[in-house]
Each structure stands twice: as structure tokens, then as C-alpha cells.
Amino acid sequence: MDPLILAGVIVGAIILLFILLRTLYKVAEPNEALLISGWGVRVQRSETADSLGFKIITGKGVLVIPGFQTARRLSLDTRGANLQVSCVTKQGLPVTVRAVVIYKVGDDFASIANAARRFLDQQDGMNDTIHELFAGHLRSIVGGLTIEEMIHNRDALTGEIRSSSANEMIKLGLVVDSLQIQEIEDESGYILNLGKPHAAAVAASARIAEAQRDQEATQAEQVAAAQKAGAIRESEIKQAGFQAEVDQARAKAGQSGPLAEATARQEVVVQETRAAELEAALAEQKLQSQVRKPADARAYDTRTSADAERDAAIAKAQAEAKETELRAAADATKVKTAAEAEAQATKARGEASAAATRATGEAQAHAAKAQGLAEADAARAKGLAEAEAAKAKGLAEADAIKARAAALAENQEAVVAQQLAERWPEIVEAGAKAFGSVDHMVVLNGADGVSDMFAKALSLGGTGLGLARQLMEAMGQTGKSAEPETNGSVVPTTTDLR
């Protein structure tokens, strides 16, 4: 046999075997399960043996006899079903919920068997079934929840999903990986309004925080600005100080030039002054020598000659004066001598006269003295004699008064009459005195008038007599009670009468 043909036959046999095996051997992918049914399927699991009439292969391969056995694949992939359900929440608010449910066939054999029995030929329509199923479940779930719980409480949502769908999912052999509520369309605006207070509060707190931060920032800025201004001020002050120093130095430097110039000019002026002085001195010297000296010489000449003339004149005058003086002195001497002689004569005469007068005065004084002494002695003697006479007279009068008093005591009338008689001329004189001071008296009724008047005047004396009499009587009465001998009160009465 040709080896080439043999090789070809072997290769062909291998290829045939491969194709045969490829056709007969089925391998389950990781995401699928092989369901073998038909002749000679051996069920190894005891608890499912009585019910399960097929074989479930996952993750490995199996030889399938064509014509006697059949192998079907069930995908274990995740599937997603979109849900859009109009439902009513627990609060009675109508909402439209859009959600997606993620599910898959369970990985355990029981789930695979359940799913295989239900969905093997309608795996593409599984989503519709799940949609219908979960639409109902979602209504019950949403009806058991409030919108707040749906929004906020995921645990409540998943718990509700499990509670409502667990048994049915087991029946269908499915596992819900998740149920996502994508959107809750709220026709009444409940959710929007629900968020408003919180949104307002958040906005308010945000504004408050913003205002506070703004305030703090402004304060910080102002503080910073104030500090900055202070720093700028300090800096400007320092700069101004430095600038002033610079200006001062510059001014000083600028002045040094003119100062030096002025100093130099001052020196020049000093020197020029000096030169001028020297020139002036020179000119003066020249003037002295050329003008003044000759003038002086001439003046001296003139003056000298004038002096000489004047001296001559003076000498002449002096000589004349001397002459006159001498003549006058001679005359005066002559007069003086005569006067002195006269004075001597007069003096002598005066002295003689004075001596005579003194002698006369002394003689007279002695005479007067002697005469005075004599007169005094005479006067004394006379006074003594008079005194004696008066004494004697007084004693006599006293005796007379005594006697009269005694007489009065005995006969008042007689005494008084006597007294009046003694005194009558005096009384009449006193009455006439009333007329003595009259210069011109006009008497209307002639001589009778005058006599009347005198009679009246004298009757005044008579009246005085009457008065005296009454007095006497009064005294007599009182004298009876007192002692009539005492003349102390009587003497003045008589004196008054006198």
C-alpha cells in the first residue's frame, strides 16, 4: 500500500473523528447551562431524580448522541428590563416611575430547572414577562411606600421588592440582582415642593455663610488696609524726613558756592576799601602838604599880626584903666578918711548921750522904787484901817440887823415901815428909772397924766410894800413853827428887799 495514501487515510480519519467529536460533544460556556434530554440521560442527583427528566450541565462538556439526545442552552447572563409604571404612592399621589430591573437565571440547578421549564423557548421574550410581572410588583411596592421613603430609604425599597417578589422569583428560577428606580415623574410637583424648604434653608445658610465670610473678609481687608495705610504713612514720613535731610544737604551744598563767592568778594571789597583808604590818606596828605600847610602859614601870619595888634591895644587900654583906677583910689581914700572921722565923732557923741540917759534912768528907778514902797506901806495901812472900819461897820450893822430882827419879831409893821421910809428915795428912783429910758413920751392928758403915771409907778412900790408885808406874814407864820431866832432865812429876804 502506498504510504502516502495511508497517511492521507489517517489524516482523513482524524479529521473525520474531529468533526464527529465536534458534532457530538457539547461544551457549556461559563454563562450558560446545557440541558440534555433524551435517551439514556442519567440523573445522578437523588432528590431531584423523580421530577427532573433532563440533565443540567454547567461549566463542562458532554457527549450528545444525535437523534437520541438533545442539548439546549440556557443563558445565565444578566438581563435588564426597563419598566415604566404609573402608580399611586402611599400618600395617594400619582407618580410615574421609570425603573430598570436587573435579573438573571439562578445559578443553582433548581433555579436553572425552573427557568428552563418556563423560558427555554422564549428566552428573548423573558423581558416582556418580567416587565409585566415587575410592573405589578412595582405598583404594590410604590403603593406601600411614601415618596420620601422611595427617595431616601433604599433599604425599605429593596426590602419591599424582596417581600413582594421573592416567591414568584423562586417559582420562575430567577434572581433579582437589583432594581433601580431611575426616575419618579411627579405630576403634582410634590417632590419639587418637598425640596424647596430644604433648598431655601440651604440657600439661606449659604447666603448667611457668604455674608459672614464676606463680612470677615471685609473686616480683614479693612484691617489690612488700615495697617497698609499706617505703613504707607510711616514710610512717607520717613521718606519725607530723608528727603528733607537730602534737601537740606543739597541746599547747603548749593549755598556753599555763593557763600565762597561772597567771602571772596568780601575779601576783595576789604582790599579795595583798604586801597581806597590809602588813596584817601594819600590825597589827604597831598592836601595837607599842598593846601593846608600854606593856608596855615598864612593864617598863622595873619593871626600873629592880629594878636600883636590886639596885645598892643590891650596894653594901651590896661594902661588907661590903671590910670583911671589909681585916680579913683585916690579919691576914695580921701572920702573914706572924711567919713571915718565923722563916724568917730558920731560914736563919741552917742556914747556920751547913752551914759547920761542911763544915769538918769537909774536915778528915776531908785526914786520910783522908794516912792512905790512908801505908797505900798501907805496903802496897806490904809487897807488895814479900812478893813478895821469895815469890820466895825459890819459888826455894827450886824448888831443893827439883829436888833431889827428882834424888832421885826415884835413889830413887823413898824420895822417894815421904817425900812420903807429909809429906802423910799431909792424906791422912787427905781420907779423913775422906768421913765429914764424913754426918749420921747407923749402924755395925752397933760400934767395929770404924768402924776397918774408916777402914782402908778409908786403904787407899784406900794404894791411891793404889800408884797413885802405878805411875805413877812408868811415868814412869821413859818417862823412860829420853826425857830424865829435863826436869821439865816431872814437875811437874804432883807437883802432881796434892798
Binding site: 440547578f109 433599604d155 426590602g159
Partner: protein, 73 residues
């Protein structure tokens, strides 16, 4: 014999388990993690999310009964 040995495995509660509720437990099975519907084993206890629980019973296909996990020591 179940196709996976979930009884005795330890899981974490991802949906509150309690009376009147259908809870959820995440278990490690078949090299991955799967969620199982869970009920309290004694019917009255309540397990909040995140609680560790022990699977004490299994009901095909995806229901487990759990009780509180008591760590040793």
C-alpha cells in the same frame, strides 16, 4: 443532597431578617457570592443589616434559615 453545601456556611445579612420580612443573606457559594432569601430559624429573631449569621437550614432553590452567629471564644 443539595448541589451546594450552604448549610453551616457563614453569611452576612444584606436585607433585614425578621418576622414578617423577607431578608437577604450574602453567601459564598460556587466560587462566587450569591444572595439568598433568608428567614430567622426560630421565627422571631430579627437581624439587622451587617449582622453575621449562620445558615442552619436550606430550602431549595434559594431560601435559607439562619440564626445568630456566635463566634468561638
Amino acid at each position: 443532597m443539595p448541589d451546594v453545601p450552604v448549610i453551616g456556611s457563614r453569611g452576612r445579612v444584606t436585607g433585614t431578617i425578621g418576622p414578617g420580612l423577607v431578608g437577604e443573606v450574602l453567601l459564598s457559594v460556587r466560587g462566587g457570592t450569591e444572595a439568598f432569601y433568608a428567614y430567622p430559624a426560630d421565627g422571631q429573631e430579627r437581624f439587622e443589616n451587617g449582622t453575621q449569621v449562620l445558615v442552619v437550614d436550606f430550602e431549595s432553590p434559594r431560601t435559607v434559615y439562619v440564626q445568630r452567629w456566635l463566634p468561638l471564644g
